[in-house]
Symmetry: C2
Subunit: 264 residues, 2 copies
């Protein structure tokens, strides 16, 4: 089965299309080639702080035009999940404006914690004691549904590791004993099944492409899709075998970068 015979491609952004603000060589061209071949493409990212609008700007800077339908950011996937569960749900969130924007666009009301039906945990570079106190009180309330945008523990920033959403998840777990009722981002099936729904394809017709074995490849395996690991991000030629051994997960294909897919 050749990769290019598949109908849809679920593609991670960071480490596949770009590293931070810088596009990865030939990745943009590869996406354009896939489009010319009539493939359905969706970019799926665990980002918990940015809205699709912000990400569209980024793609514009990478030199690639994408529509909102082609972007499934975890912020947006969280908004979709909640609005499927409850119309006009009342949400308290630890997150940033990008997340709030997606929640509001889905008709969700951002409220103070005392009125919240949902606690939505996303990363926040402006995190403070007050936000953590409110989140704690909601986590202690079993009537409040607790959703985490992604499970990411640490994010590799340019000057070193920085906390991901997991910082808040871990703090709440330690204090309250409670873990999220649902985690939306990869490797959760929640965001992957939503991607299939948007693509209007079954898992056997898609390829899941990403740079992290325990995030992208695992997410692909959980929906039984074909998985491709690219070595243009977190996983490299040097640490590949060690990571496969450590995690016990093997991608179906390992490519140098996204552009290599055109050879299959």
């Amino acid at each position: 089965m050749k990769l290019l015979e598949k109908k849809g491609f679920i593609i991670d952004i960071d480490g596949v299309i770009a590293r931070g603000q810088t596009p990865i060589p030939n990745a943009i061209e590869a996406v354009e080639k896939l489009r010319e071949m009539g493939k359905r493409i969706i970019f799926v990212s665990n980002n918990s702080t940015r809205s699709r609008k912000i990400m569209m700007e980024r793609f514009k800077n990478y030199g690639l035009k994408v529509s909102e339908d082609e972007l499934l950011i975890a912020t947006y996937a969280t908004a979709r999940l909640i609005s499927r569960e409850k119309r006009n749900a009342k949400v308290y969130t630890t997150g940033e404006n990008g997340l709030k924007e997606e929640l509001r666009l889905a008709g969700i009301r951002i409220v103070d914690y005392k009125n919240a039906e949902y606690l939505v945990v996303g990363s926040n570079r402006g995190i403070n004691f007050e936000i953590m106190t409110k989140a704690l009180r909601l986590a202690l309330n079993k009537n409040v549904r607790y959703i985490a945008v992604n499970p990411d523990k640490i994010f590799p920033a340019e000057d070193g590791p920085i906390p991901g959403t997991g910082m808040i998840i871990g703090a709440l777990y330690w204090m309250s004993g409670r873990e999220p009722d649902v985690i939306v981002g990869k490797p959760s099936k929640v965001i992957m099944e939503d991607a299939l729904k948007i693509l209007k394809l079954n898992a056997e017709d898609v390829v899941v492409i990403g740079d992290q074995i325990d995030v992208d490849v695992l997410a692909g395996k959980r929906i039984n899709a074909t998985t491709v690991l690219v070595l243009s991000g977190v996983t490299t030629k040097e640490n590949l075998n060690e990571k496969i051994k450590e995690l016990g997960i093997k991608p179906d294909y390992v490519l140098k970068d996204l552009s290599e897919i055109l050879r299959y």
Copy 2:
């Protein structure tokens, strides 16, 4: 063995002497009576944000004069521990000014995280993303010794629960897999053995008094001292039996409040 035959008394502050800013009726008088009887007294508190100087001001407001020798706040006990381990150690701390004050008084240098030999985790009402990032990077560095001022998860504030030091401990554990190398505050033996050292007494000669079974009573049991639970704080007549059953720890004596000790 009567309680009043003991030579020394290790007394918790919050829930025994006062609740927040308000002294507990008759507790101050009881302390004064014990003093008149020639008992050695030390107040041991898990507080991770206040220095002895700040606590002395509080005691003054309670109407009780205490000297610095009678106060073993976890901030001070942390400073004592580190200065025993290393002279002029270089410390990065997540904590507040009260903690920093005690560290500096012990000759410890407060440095930026890049130069730190120790990570000292204390609660901070001004916690932010930058502090958490620095603490994370130090927790990831096995050469850095990681001390937590206390293990308290949640603090019962007047308007509801608020995060304790455990918020930071839990966040770091979740992200890095690392727990503190040493926890100073109760129920750790570290602060209790330090209290005995300051009192110049053996455990069999002291009574440990507090309002929390899993904090004060457990700490007392760990050094094999006689333990007294008072029902003037977190533990009440209503939840006493449930808590003893849940925690599997039984205090030697249960008193309504500190003043009842004078009857034994």
